[in-house]
Structures are given as structure tokens and as C-alpha cells.
């Protein structure tokens, strides 16, 4: 269990329903306010729970990705009423640029939220959650979530071995790229074999057998109920706002105006509370810990 993250101490079912609510809203809207709030919430949570080194590495990945996605849209989408300049007689429009920024923000928000999700939901929690209903789903999910960290670890291992064998030394940058390609190809074949092995081993252990009980450390407490209730209560006004068209927004052909009235402000406030919930909880617990320690 990730003991340094307070939010991870909730019951898997509560965490799962919270992230389900958050991701559904983030993925299915073009509304820039919702996207920005979701990005902020996920970003704060990841920054707060990660170490400085992890955060720096994340920045190195997310910043170029954001720029790349944002730039790609105006290159391929020429719709929109405000041309900035023309490229091969096709307009590059302001609307397409802004829509690109919005798409990039959505992608970053979803990826960061999933990062937060994988930090608080380790494979044992997924197994506890889905193990009874569908053991197959639980195994597939836990293998998928475990895949990237495992891949990274094995990558480092293979690079070290190759270095010990004398590769990578005194090579030019581009021959080093070729060496990395060799490591990558070895890594992929290893990963395929490893996945098949894991599945076969799970079968041999009888993970699908009837009447099998799985070991679970998690107890559903009042706090977990409160988290589910809070996710649902905060989602309901947002969902109502979506249904009433208060969140509807489009970029083409001309950027539409955001509806701005009491109801839409209330909707945004609810969504802000929903998306910032893990971060606020984390800060609250950290302050409480500091306060309690100061009294010793």
C-alpha cells in the first residue's frame, strides 16, 4: 500500500467510483473550463504526491507532449472563421489553434488523472475489487497497470547489462540510438513472453476456480461511504448542467460563448470541488499530521 498517500487509504470501490466520475466528465466534454479544472486537480495531486525528481521527469514528458498535440491540430484542421495565415492555400485558423490547446489539455488531464489513479490503486486493490465478479478482468487490469513500471525497470536492467558488455561506450549519439533500438526489441519480446508466462502461471494457480476466496485487507468504512456520496453528489449537478446544455461549447466555425449564469457557475464550482477533492484531502491530512506532531 502506498502509505505516504492519504487518499490511497480509501476503500478500492470508493476510489474507483470517484475516478470513474472524474474521467467520464473530463473525456466527454469540449468545455474549456471543465478541462482546465480537471487538469488543475490532476496536476496538483500528482505534484503533491510525487517526489521532486519524479515531478521533473513528468514535466520533461508532459510539456513536449502538450506542445506537440496543440500544434498538430491547426496543421491538419483548417476549419474556423478567423484565418491567421495561409499554408499551401489552406487557412491556419485561430479556432483550430485554440481547439488544439483544448485537446492537449484534455489529453494531459486524462493522463495525469490516470497517473493519480495508478498511484492510489495498486494491483492488490484492483484484484480485491474485481476478483469476485470477474477474475479475468482483474488479472488483465492488474497486468495492464503493472505493465509500464515493469517495462521501465526491465529497460534499465537491459541497458545496464548492455553497458557491462561494452556497448554504448564511446559511440556517437546516433549509434547509441541504434543500441537503444536493440534494447527495445529485446524488451518487447521479453514483455510478450512475460505476459504469456504470467497468464499461464495464474491459470496453474487456479485463479478462475469456483468458491475461491481472495485475501482482502480492505474494510468499507464510513469515510469510504462519504467519498462515494461526495462523488455522486458533486457529479449530479454537473450531469444536470450537461443535460441542460449549460456546458455545451464548440470551437468551429467560430468559438461559441460560454453560458454564464448562476447555474453554470454552480456547476463549475461542483466540478472544481470534485476534481480538487484528492488534493484538498491530501493537504488536509498533511496539515493534520504536522499539527499532531507539533504537539508531541
Amino acid at each position: 500500500m502506498n502509505n505516504h498517500i492519504a487518499f490511497a487509504r480509501f476503500h478500492p470501490a470508493a476510489l474507483f467510483s470517484y475516478y470513474l466520475c472524474l474521467l467520464l466528465f473530463t473525456m466527454f466534454t469540449e468545455n474549456p473550463v471543465i478541462t482546465a479544472l480537471s487538469l488543475l486537480g490532476a496536476l496538483y495531486f500528482c505534484l503533491f504526491t510525487g517526489t521532486a525528481r519524479e515531478n521533473l521527469n513528468d514535466l520533461k514528458f508532459y510539456a513536449p507532449m502538450f506542445i506537440l498535440v496543440a500544434l498538430t491540430n491547426p496543421l491538419f484542421s483548417h476549419s474556423g472563421a478567423t484565418p491567421l495565415f495561409f499554408m499551401n492555400d489552406n487557412p491556419v485558423t485561430l479556432e483550430a489553434v485554440l481547439a488544439g490547446v483544448n485537446i492537449a489539455a484534455t489529453v494531459a488531464a486524462v493522463m495525469l488523472a490516470c497517473k493519480g489513479f495508478s498511484r492510489v490503486m495498486e494491483s492488490d486493490k484492483l484484484l480485491a475489487l474485481f476478483g469476485k465478479a470477474s477474475p479475468k478482468l482483474a488479472v488483465v487490469l492488474s497486468m495492464a497497470l503493472r505493465f509500464i513500471p515493469l517495462f521501465k525497470r526491465k529497460w534499465r536492467e537491459l541497458c545496464d547489462v548492455q553497458k557491462a558488455m561494452g556497448y554504448f561506450r564511446g559511440e556517437s549519439r546516433f549509434s547509441r540510438l541504434a543500441s537503444y533500438a536493440r534494447v527495445f526489441s529485446a524488451l518487447v519480446s521479453w514483455a510478450l513472453e512475460n505476459a504469456a508466462d504470467t497468464a499461464a502461471s495464474m491459470c496453474a494457480r487456479g485463479f478462475e476456480l469456483e468458491g475461491k476466496r481472495s485475501f482482502s485487507l480492505f474494510r468499507f468504512t464510513r469515510a469510504d461511504g462519504a467519498l462515494i456520496a461526495a462523488s455522486l453528489a458533486l457529479s449530479a449537478p454537473v450531469l444536470a448542467g450537461f443535460a441542460m446544455g449549460k456546458a455545451s461549447f464548440y470551437f468551429y466555425p467560430r468559438i461559441s460563448e460560454l453560458p454564464f449564469d448562476i447555474f453554470s457557475v454552480a456547476m463549475y464550482a461542483c466540478f472544481a470541488a470534485l476534481s480538487l477533492l484528492p488534493f484538498i484531502f491530501e493537504v488536509k491530512e498533511a496539515l493534520k499530521w504536522k499539527y499532531l506532531r507539533s504537539k508531541i
Partner: protein, 178 residues
């Protein structure tokens, strides 16, 4: 080290070729090109752009576009353009879009004769149902080639029309049925 420098130079050259091969124009530059008057006796063609079928299918139209559909279905009334040697239906459309500042997007390339008109005046393919898009007629007939492969002759009449039913609504009982 030597290898590094050579490959870096190659990559820079490749990027430079792509950038230089792309034709960048400012908005004013683009719209002011080709503005010319047709004199008596010059070879000329007539072009019109219409989207009447959208008006019959307003319920299928993307709601964001409703304010952008002209109420009489005319994006561009019949207009005369000077015909230059080797002009295609696509060239005339580009020129008309420039002089009248009509938004237009295409994919493919003129040079390979693979141009496809995705949208004119913010009305795009699939904007009005799954079978909608732009098509064109020359002298009341549909050429069996793409617009960038269709070379025009003096006095030709080009009509760009929007269809909501894969051209069925244009061919049956409409103005094009002769």
C-alpha cells in the same frame, strides 16, 4: 562525433526542405492575389456555389453551423472569372474563394490531381447528415473526375453544390435533371 554532425545536418536539411516547400502567406497577401477584372472577349467561365439542400434538411444540420448557412442557399451567386490556360474547376473555386473571402478547405494536392473539397463557407462534409458533402457540375453534368483533374473551356458553367444524400437529392427531380 563526425557521424553526429552529418546526421544532424541531414535532419536540419530535411526540415528546411519541408518548410521551404510549404507556401506561407499572410491573410492580406492571400486574399489580394488574383483579383482581376474580366474584359469583353476574354475567355471566361461562370461559377456559382449553392447549398439549397441544407435548407431542406435543417434538422440534420450541426447546430453550431445554423447561423452560417445563407438563408437563400447562395454562398456565391453566378460570377464570371477569366479563364487561364489549363485552369481546372478547382483553380476557379480557389480564385472565387479568395476574391470573395469564402472559407474553404481541401485535402490532397493540386499537382497530383487528388484534391478533395472538404468544406466551403464553414459547411463541411458530414455537417448535414452522414451522406452530405460538396460536389460540382459543369454545364449541368457531373464530370467523372475530381475537380483538380477537370480542365475547363471557354464559356463553361461551374456549379458547386452541397448534397445531403450522396447527390441523390441533386439528380432526382432537381434542376440538374434534363
Amino acid at each position: 562525433m563526425k557521424k553526429d554532425i552529418i546526421i544532424t545536418l541531414l535532419i536540419i536539411m530535411l526540415v528546411a526542405v519541408f518548410v521551404l516547400a510549404t507556401d506561407f502567406k499572410s491573410v492580406e497577401e492571400y486574399y489580394l492575389e488574383n483579383a482581376e477584372n474580366v474584359k469583353e472577349g476574354d475567355a471566361a467561365v461562370v461559377i456559382s456555389i449553392r447549398c439549397d439542400t441544407v435548407l431542406d434538411n435543417m434538422e440534420k444540420l450541426d447546430p453550431a453551423l445554423a447561423p452560417y448557412v445563407p438563408s437563400d442557399g447562395t454562398v456565391l451567386a453566378e460570377t464570371k472569372y477569366a479563364l487561364r490556360e489549363g485552369d481546372t474547376a478547382f483553380d476557379i473555386l480557389v480564385r472565387a474563394a479568395k476574391t470573395h473571402r469564402i472559407q474553404m478547405e481541401y485535402s490532397g494536392a493540386k499537382e497530383t490531381k487528388t484534391v478533395y473539397i472538404e468544406g466551403i463557407a464553414n459547411i463541411y462534409e458530414f455537417s448535414c447528415g452522414d451522406l452530405s458533402g460538396w460536389t460540382y457540375f459543369v454545364n449541368g453534368e457531373r464530370p467523372q473526375v475530381g475537380s483538380s483533374a477537370c480542365t475547363l473551356h471557354d464559356g463553361d458553367k461551374i456549379e458547386w453544390v452541397y448534397t445531403c444524400e450522396l447527390s441523390e437529392d441533386l439528380l432526382q427531380g432537381g434542376a440538374k435533371n434534363e
